[in-house]
């Protein structure tokens, strides 16, 4: 549907704010890159629910591949990744960089990009934790899925901006019946 995104970030002069903001990964202010909507298809949502429920009570994590511009993030593919944090798999995740790399390759081969990260919060609300904040990067959507023994129950998406997470809307991408033709 939407293809090119690398061009949308041409506003380059992101000046480093001198303050050491929050974390090791200090925030770079990127004007115009904050997306406000994450678009998922119903199928992607069901796939995600399945993945987080199958991992319960442990955390599941993965990557969102698609395209993004200044207003919306369109997810094309959901990738499941291994959680390398085995010792604390109930409340921590460390996404396997090999899986990240594989998703990136697959994305770029299709002219797409890694646009976000998803992970589950077993028995916990779909709000970013301190740990999430400390590890977050600007420019990605962070989709968090709250899940309990009875299933995934809340999807929320967040973007890091100026050292804080701002919630973005999740919208349902209309399913095109036969092909994914442009409508515009």
């Amino acid at each position: 549907m939407i293809s090119d995104l690398s061009e949308s970030v041409t506003r380059s002069s992101a000046t480093q704010s001198s303050a050491t903001l929050i974390t090791a990964v200090d925030a770079v202010t990127v004007p115009g890159v904050a997306a406000t909507e994450l678009w998922l298809t119903g199928v992607q949502r069901r796939d995600l629910a399945y993945l987080v429920e199958a991992s319960y009570p442990f955390e599941a994590c993965g990557l969102l591949v698609g395209s993004a511009d200044t207003e919306r993030v369109d997810v094309q593919d959901v990738f499941h990744a291994r959680n390398l944090n085995v010792e604390r798999a109930r409340d921590r995740f460390l996404l396997d960089p090999d899986d990240h790399m594989a998703a990136d390759r697959s994305a770029r081969a299709r002219g797409l990009d890694i646009v976000g990260i998803w992970h589950s919060h077993p028995d916990h609300p779909a709000r970013p934790s301190i740990t999430d904040l400390e590890a977050a990067w600007e420019g990605f959507s962070y989709l968090i899925i709250s899940t309990t023994a009875s299933g995934a129950n809340d999807f929320r998406s967040w973007r890091l901006q100026g050292g804080k997470f701002i919630e973005e809307k999740i919208r349902e991408t209309p399913q095109t019946s036969s092909s994914s033709e442009e409508e515009s």
């Binding site: 409340d91 770029r108 420019g139």
Partner: protein
């Protein structure tokens, strides 16, 4: 001197003028990154720490291999090599005690004790 292509992840593109891919030269991964950093202000600071070592929250791949499993920043770069910068992605949830409805976290003894190795 080898010419390499460096792939830039979304969060670092503001530092490369929006480019998702940049050409750079050097004999080693470290040299290639430094050469690139010399042209893009602020870039190197996100990748290397004060001692010039790779930051823990950044992974660098040379071809298919994480350079941590090779020779680190000293890994030799062949002409035409592709270097991927992969941001480390981590997180979790806050520790129990938040009084969340339906939480059965505390009922299981010490968190993280009985988990290793189990997969579902």
């Amino acid at each position: 001197m080898s010419q390499a292509t460096v792939r830039i992840p979304t969060p670092l593109r503001p530092l490369t003028g929006g480019s998702d891919e940049v050409a750079a030269v050097g004999h080693t991964v470290g040299e290639v990154l430094s050469e690139l950093g010399g042209r893009h202000n602020g870039f190197l600071d996100r990748i290397l720490d004060g001692q010039g070592k790779l930051r823990s929250f950044v992974n660098v791949y040379l071809g298919d291999s994480n350079v941590r499993s090779l020779n680190g920043l000293d890994s030799a770069v062949a002409d035409g090599a592709v270097i991927h910068i992969v941001p480390a992605v981590a997180g979790g949830r806050d520790i129990p005690g938040g009084g969340i409805a339906g939480d059965d976290i505390s009922g299981d003894g010490i968190p993280g004790d009985d988990i290793a190795g189990e997969t579902r």
